[in-house]
């Protein structure tokens, strides 16, 4: 594999290889090895057409810890604001010798276009495209689940996960459903009917409209961000009502199994989909998810760029 475009492209073996590699890389970091040598002399371009804090910083930290040279490109303040096309930007990056391009784009499918257009010869990593996919987020979520529930070993067979909230617009949800199912986990999507996409019944995940009934038997609850900018689009009546029906608060958290964890891809709307006391509780692994993101992205970059050709 040369690119990572969709979580659905990964076989169970490939996914486990990435998670195992991330485990070893996390151990190296924990042992105080700040910099590892395998990508010395390789150039990774972070091509970000959309705002991002943690994903871009996470990819940058990952590439630097593997000794790659990193070029950060954000659409703001670049020739994109003068109207340069993705193609011309890609050709420029190719001319500068990019070995891999990490792309975030507001258009679903942009990473696929970049990888299959012949514009660039290097690998492409999808860092989130439109409402389509965010495969490294799914990998870091799988890593976090495996760390807490499977002692960092093997797949996620038998693990039950509830993904709650704005599934309709969530690339995180799409990638997670694909990857978690590949790894053997059972996924339940919980959302108001207006925030579920057409055809969700074909995803191979259970669907529920009722949060209270959906969290008592799961091993993890993954809350999705509600995008406040969409609140006026009549997906739900008011923020208060959404929070009342689909927000995770302390009372709801009490009904979860003792070992169950709370996840959130960030950025959080505290008080909206997740209450502050839940976000800061002992069950919350939200900060761990960020740390795990660096290890998982290191694993992806190492496996795609570390050898002759990727996994």
């Amino acid at each position: 594999m040369k690119h990572l475009l969709s979580a659905g492209d990964l076989s169970r073996e490939q996914a486990i290889t990435i998670l195992d590699t991330a485990t070893q890389l996390a151990a190296a970091t924990a042992q105080g090895v700040g910099k590892l040598p395998p990508l010395r002399g390789r150039t990774v371009v972070n091509l970000f057409y959309e705002d991002s804090t943690r994903t871009r910083i996470s990819f940058e930290a990952a590439a630097k810890r593997l000794s790659a040279d990193v070029i950060n490109f954000s659409a703001k303040g670049s020739s994109v604001s003068k109207g340069e096309s993705l193609k011309d930007t890609a050709l420029t990056l190719e001319a500068m010798g990019a070995d891999a391009v990490v792309i975030r784009h507001d258009a679903s499918g942009a990473p696929h276009r970049l990888a299959n257009s012949g514009w660039i010869s290097g690998g492409v990593v999808n860092a989130g495209d439109g409402t389509h996919e965010h495969p490294t987020q799914a990998l870091l979520d799988a890593y976090t689940l495996r760390n807490h529930l499977k002692n960092n070993q093997g797949d996620l067979d038998g693990v039950k996960v509830a993904i709650v909230g704005d599934v309709l617009h969530s690339r995180v949800a799409r990638s997670n459903v694909l990857l978690l199912r590949t790894l053997g986990a059972q996924v339940r999507l919980v959302a108001p009917p207006t925030l579920l996409p057409i055809g969700v019944n074909t995803w191979g995940a259970e669907v529920s409209y009722n949060l209270d009934e959906s969290i008592t038997d799961v091993d993890a609850v993954m809350m999705l961000r509600v995008q406040r900018e969409r609140m006026n689009a009549a997906f739900f009546p008011t923020a208060h009502e959404y929070s009342f029906r689909y927000g995770l608060n302390a009372n709801r958290m009490k009904t979860m199994q003792d070992h169950a964890i709370v996840m959130h891809p960030g950025p959080m709307n505290r008080g909206m989909e997740i209450s502050a006391d839940v976000a800061d509780s002992a069950r919350s692994v939200i900060v761990e998810q960020v740390a795990n993101g660096v290890s998982v992205r290191m694993a992806v970059l190492y496996l795609l760029l570390g050898g002759t050709e990727g996994i």
Binding site: D20, T21, L25, P37, Y302, G306, T308
Partner: protein, 187 residues
Amino acid sequence: MTNVVEPGHRNSRVVLDADDMARALTRLAHEVVERTHGATNLTLMGIPTRGADLAARLALKIESIQGSPVPVGALDVTMYRDDLRLRPARALLPTTIPEHGIEGRLVVLVDDVLYSGRTIRSALDALSEHGRPQAVQLAVLVDRGHRELPIRADYVGKNLPTSKSEQVSVHVLERDGIDQVTIEQSS
């Protein structure tokens, strides 16, 4: 149990059996104790996978001689290899650093087979990321020659003259179900 080579397997012969291996490791343990003046400042670092298995055994043997436990760890060298780009990306193996680290310790690297010396060069680089040992020595079960770098072992279980077309395989009980070293013509 997959890599077990039956004695008499075509093109393969056993050069060390379980008893030979045990004796070689016992001798190595005594040599390490002697050369390190009682192994008081000793830390063993095995190179995964089978070097790490052998390091754990060597530590037990030294403990039985000296009466005090020997810190033992594992050191993955994959990311430090000079041929990383020549092959598809390889899976990483565990690195474990003993409790008190390697700073100021007398570190003995342990590997199963010494061949080109490139693994050991990588190991020296990997080791330096974890601290500055007082000294580094090398123990191997088999030295098969054909060095490509100025590296030699301080402790050798068996010198095994080979041709480059041959393959030397070390099998260990905990991983392969049998203790033996075989040599075969690679196809």
